[in-house]
Amino acid sequence: MNRRRAKRLLLLPIITLIVLQAAEATPSSTQAIEYWLTQHFVHSTLSKEQQQAELKWFHQAAAPYRDLTIHVVSEDIPTHRYESQVLARAFYDLTGIHVIHEVTKEDDVVRKLQVQMELALPIYDAYVNDTDFIGTHSRYPETLAISAMMQNEWQHISLPTLDLDDFIGLQFATGIDGQLYQLPTQQFANLYWYRHDWFSDPQLQQRFQAHYGYPLGVPQNWAAYQDIANFFTNIVKTIDGQRVWGHMDYGHFDPSLGWRISDSWLSLAGANDILPDNGQPYAEQQGVGDWGIRVEHCHPVGASVSRGGALDSPAAIYAVESYISWLNQYAPPEARDLTFSTSSAYLGRGNIAQQIFWYTAFLPDLLTDQLLDSDGNPKWRVAPSPRGKYWQKGMKSGYQDVSGWTFLRSTPKHRAAAAWLYAQFVVSKTVSMTKFLNGFTPIRQSDIHSRYLTANSDKWGGLLEFYQSKARHYWTPTGLSVANYAALSDAWWRHIGPAVQGKQTVTDSMKQLANTVEQRLLAISKTDDLRCAPTLREAKPESYWLSQPGAPWPQQQAPDKPATLPYQQALQLWQD
């Protein structure tokens, strides 16, 4: 052993000790850890010792960024309010990093993200952005691939107990290249919602059976949903002196109208292809994905039937015609002027019998006295959404909103690093279960299957049962077929709006929508720097594509035979 090497070896334990001492939590941080663990993060799948170790790690890893103020932004749902108001403060107490977590309207988040991506203006240090953007983030060079960063620059500031395999939404945040671009921080689904107490009322059951010839229950298809909507709106009309309605939706002409249609209506109608096998690489897949866009070997090739897409297909037209007709016939008249946010608050009034799909992020709005029974449990339930006549087994069964921490290259590196620490904190096992109890948007398998949440599942009307089942894989966010979400999304509400207002037919609206989407895909391919760029196919007669296997599906004249199931049997469908 040479002397220089021996000296180095002698010094090693001393250096290690110095490093360990420096890394030791300070008395004030120990107090802060104790305070947050005993007063706030009481429910966790980790033991208290494991939680302490996790929080100590944050304290130590954050040392180079102490006293930094960073800005992050997310949409306005209860989960993000909890992050902004409670978790940002906890993170400050534990790390000294001051996080300004702004909560604003979804369209404002998207606009700011778009501005930062296009103009390289570092407005925020991180965004909580829906994974509906995964087709964008993984095609454009502006977004950091988190999985690559974790193996390189962020390796030393990546939480050893982050446990990515525990996240239930990771596949939705994974791009066309297999890299992770967004770290899920909340998930909620669009599920069928109904008044279980009314559906269980023997008198109402009897009236329904007498009128329709089959039992009142969880509708399995749109035909049954429509019958139930008609039953409550036009036959029952009042319950306990209150006017009641058999259907709820919203139709105000603004961006949230677009989400309503693009999120679920088309997929529930059965406009798209059967979901591809998860194991198949994206580059090998072809078929019609979300928004009726046909993709071949990762390239979007068309949205209209004439190019093999399904946005103006018979199934898509049937979806939007059903949406408008039911909004007019069965929903409260004011629903036509409500939006994403205001319609959810409306449901809390307690005069709606069912909603074809309901955003479970608004669960806290429905834990009101009016909608809770004497035991404090909901009078309502969530169940699998009924499907339209084109729907087939293996197709997308509904929409799931997954939001993930997203980092852009234009953010200064040290600020992005500090934001990465905050992002990991708000999804860590120490806080994730408590966060669920404040927003009901689960992200971790360990929480979903925990004894504590399972024991309390009655309080959430079927939400936990959905997330404990395999069904959550078939409720998917907007997928990789949408090459640039921000550039395409406004086309939805701009074209659907005139049809809702009765100014033009649904067929015309959908033809125009498909045409606009294709024009924009063409423009994107010419002007933008992106991989797997759109390459529009040549147009062919629609009859060609409608006679090919798969979507776009040909016109189906025969209506569905209405079918319902008792609640427990309907839940079993999730398990199967």
């Binding site: 403060r89 977590h101 702004e102 309207k105 369209d107 700011k112 103009l119 407005i123």
Partner: protein, 235 residues
């Protein structure tokens, strides 16, 4: 006499090719400041003026109150107004060019008060003053704050000086100017909490070529850093 001052404050002819776009502006310091007999000034004016010149689009400034400006821009061809905050309800009514400002708002107090705020919620127990009708005022209302809305920045700052409010909401760009209004007492930033972007809202029937040219030119101005400089952006 002042009432007779023409509404049209400035007319610049650049090229004879396209229609003149009426730019309806209202007092919204520091983005737009209306000076009765001269052309309007302010950070957004500093950006918009070279934007139109460089895009080769003719324009004229017209002073109007906010509500009328928005109404007229929605109704009349080749008319735009700024600064306007995009909301879901307004989105369908205009073609939007921007951002023509990005502002970060904070809670400011007199240095002697030494308030420590970590999250916006910490300020709920305090009296807050904010400029009436601003986007940040709406943001605070949406977040459950009850604020004192003032008709001018000077009024709010006087309330702060005399202890009638504990925090004044201002954006970073305007705070230096505001400090001078409270005299020798220093304003201290207690918490920056909201970022807003404003846009130019243009009539949907306006000449699309002109608006495309403006949009493209604005992008160039941002990518070269010129826009950030004119808007005094610190990020």
């Amino acid at each position: 006499m002042a009432r007779l001052v023409p509404l049209i404050l400035c007319l610049l002819l650049v090229t004879p090719a396209s229609a003149t776009i009426k730019l309806l502006v209202y007092d919204y310091p520091p983005l737009v400041q209306i000076n009765r007999q001269a052309k309007p000034t302010g950070h957004a004016i500093d950006l918009v003026t070279p934007l139109f010149l460089q895009a080769g689009v003719q324009y004229q400034f017209v002073k109007l109150p906010l509500k009328r400006a928005i109404q007229q821009a929605a109704q009349h061809k080749n008319t735009c107004t700024f600064p306007v905050f995009r909301t879901q309800r307004r989105e369908a009514d205009f073609r939007w060019i921007g951002p023509i400002s990005v502002n970060r708002f904070g809670l400011y107090s007199l240095a002697e008060n030494n308030h420590q705020l970590v999250t916006l919620n910490d300020a709920k127990a305090h009296k807050i003053g904010v400029y009436a009708g601003s986007a940040v005022a709406n943001y605070l209302t949406d977040n459950g704050f009850s604020t004192y809305e003032t008709s001018s920045i000077a009024q709010g700052l006087q309330m702060l000086k005399h202890g009638r409010i504990e925090f004044w909401v201002a954006d970073i760009q305007s705070i230096q100017q505001a400090s001078s209004l409270v005299g020798e007492q220093q304003l201290t930033p207690s918490l920056s909490f909201y970022t807003s972007m404003s846009f130019m809202a243009c009539n949907l029937s306006s000449d699309a070529q002109d608006l495309d040219a403006l949009e493209a030119q604005l992008k160039t101005m941002y990518l070269t850093g010129q826009a950030q400089q004119l808007l005094h952006l610190s990020f």
